[in-house]
Symmetry: C2
Subunit: 384 residues, 2 copies
């Protein structure tokens, strides 16, 4: 049905009406006092969301640009870095590090499995010369729906004492409790079209004092992505380059909504959505791609064995106007991914699971009791 | 008066209502057929606007990001480049080239004066070893309102035969006739919040075959700004990184409006707005900062000698809700700049000039006949 689309992908995520309407306001001058006021409020909101007292900088980039900035501002050519790689995004950060001439050591796991923190521990402990300059981790691996054990890996990095920890939180920030200062995460990057409930077009990088210390001697070339420029101007509530003014209008509204909901409620909601989705998928007899102990709070991946993943996506789209994500690279056609990140309610999960049940019936899939999926999700909601 | 703001700055420029409303639509998935259709139409529109058959790539960046991409994709460390520098943006491209370790030779002129094409000719002719790899030119220098003589400089670059010409057209594209293919401009960068009539958040880079040939051996590091990735995906009407979907909704509408108006009419309108503004400023006895023969079609800078520039801006804002731009760097407080770029009509110029007259009267400036400014602008409109 025309204009009835429901996005259940890991980004762009659903955007509240009041955010969209704020974005439709006429732009104002970005060098005006009015814009500085908005930027001041937004920056405060971002710090609240990041649970940090340190800098959170806003760049006109997509998530990849934010993560690239998080890497290249703190390192020099030839620096040794460990990069966790167990999905498309982990692989991408390996490529970024290689493109800039870093000495990259990927630490891999199968797509669909979490990184093994022990490998990080062993490699970091063996580095008695302290040659490892940074450990780069994708927290929620969007391509597989795996949540890596950032807390444990971070403890090993802290034990090493020298290496920075640089984290891609693109699909975990705003869905998972990530107290950045308490954990001592050095650099944390994310993007607007995810937990922020805003369309794509803004990236964010949180930077602590240890990372700024490394910045002083870091020699990788940069200008547009030079975070020092953003920091200097952010202190005056302005930006070094023209910001996407209308995106800021939307972000201001979205952050107010998040603050009204409260961090604990936001994290609990995402946990509930994840549990309900996973319970429903299991009740329908469909195999989950990521194990329960490493389930992303943002994306649930399903690897159906007795029904075609792309057929499911096609019927969900055509009959029910629900967009699910497919697999990427070698997972194309093999998995589908349900996004439940940002402006998503319990009702949306019941809707998506109901439509998924109807789709399975239409496709002649008989390995489940019709109604079992919705019942399982409802049970989670009734008890949490 | 609340919500009565009128932007007469060089960006963000005024945005048509239908563009704003298009941006308020709910985002769609950027990997969908629906988005590919939009991207195909937008890319065709961009090629039309650039008067090129070659690639025009869209990046989630501000104008600086687009120009940086235009530079770093085609050069290697140590490459010799000439950079025209006669304002804040020319200086910025010198800094970008330095940040990436290029051998930069700035060719300067006073702020407010155009670059001398003869200096380029001499330097290029003296380079018999063909060591100059690129000439980087800001076409319309936003900080001063000077239009550099790109056509003549380009002829000298073509006579050299080896150097690429890389052009910042951030405030000239869509306001001045720039037939990119006919001129053989190799790389041309611009940004959405200017002639495009769209808020900030998208940058554009046009690249011809000669530049792609240079790309093959260019060694400056890049990933997010790697134009080869954008080119590869643009061929499939998609993007390597999540695009700002809502900005594309707006750009689609804006390009349709521009196509309905027609290129010749758009350029003639900007010429008319420029002539009317300059005639009015002269009639008010205020000195123009850029000479007539090098007047930007997007921005008119005024350097008042018997009245304070910042006071003019303050009254224009407070009494008449018209935002003018101030001077940058050493011109701060000395000049003010009237933007007449993008969605600006003859009526807007009469409005701005009328308000400027009223402001001058309020400030006790007596070196003009009240009404002379509007009369001079009206005369231009009556005869063109």
């Amino acid at each position: 049905m025309e204009n009835k689309l429901m996005l259940m992908i890991p980004g762009p995520t659903p955007v509240p009406e009041q955010v969209l309407l704020a974005m439709a306001k006429h732009p104002i001058g970005h060098r005006s006092g009015d814009f500085s006021k908005i930027m001041a409020e937004v920056t405060d909101g971002l710090k609240w969301l990041h649970q940090t007292q340190n800098d959170v900088l806003s760049l006109t980039v997509s998530g990849t640009g934010a993560v690239e900035a998080a890497i290249i501002n703190f390192l020099s050519p030839g620096d040794r870095v460990l990069v966790g790689s167990n999905g498309k995004f982990g692989e991408r950060w390996v490529e970024v590090a290689q493109a800039y001439g870093l000495a990259v050591e990927p630490i891999t796991a199968e797509w669909g499995q979490p990184l093994d923190p022990e490998t990080f521990r062993e490699t970091l402990e063996a580095d008695t010369e302290k040659t490892i300059k940074a450990v780069i981790i994708t927290h929620s691996e969007t391509s597989t729906g795996v949540l890596n054990d950032l807390e444990t890996i971070n403890r090993h990095v802290k034990a090493h004492g020298e290496a920075l920890i640089i984290v891609d939180t693109v699909t975990s920030l705003g869905s998972y409790n990530l107290p950045i200062d308490a954990l001592g995460l050095d650099v944390v990057a994310s993007g607007s079209q995810k937990g922020y409930m805003v369309p794509p077009g803004l990236g964010f990088v949180a930077v602590n004092a240890r990372a700024w210390e490394a910045y002083k001697t870091a020699k990788l070339p940069r200008f547009y992505l030079d975070l020092g420029k953003y920091r200097k101007d952010a202190a005056k509530n302005t930006t070094p380059f023209t910001p996407p003014v209308n995106m800021f209008f939307g972000l201001q509204v979205a952050l107010r909504m998040m603050q009204a909901e409260g961090l604990e409620n936001i994290f609990a909601r995402h946990q509930r959505l994840t549990s309900a989705t996973r319970a429903a998928v299991k009740a329908m007899g469909l195999p989950l791609f990521a194990p329960d102990h490493a389930a992303s709070p943002a994306i649930t991946s399903v690897i159906p064995d007795r029904v075609d993943a792309e057929q499911i996506r096609a019927v969900m789209k055509k009959r029910y106007d629900i967009v699910l994500a497919g697999g990427q690279d070698h997972l194309k056609g093999k998995i589908f991914r349900i996004g439940h990140l940002g402006f998503v309610s319990d009702r949306d999960i019941l809707t998506a699971i109901g439509a998924l049940e109807a789709t399975l019936q239409e496709l002649g899939y008989e390995s489940f009791t019709p109604g079992a999926g919705v019942a399982a999700a409802a049970k989670v909601f009734a008890t949490s």
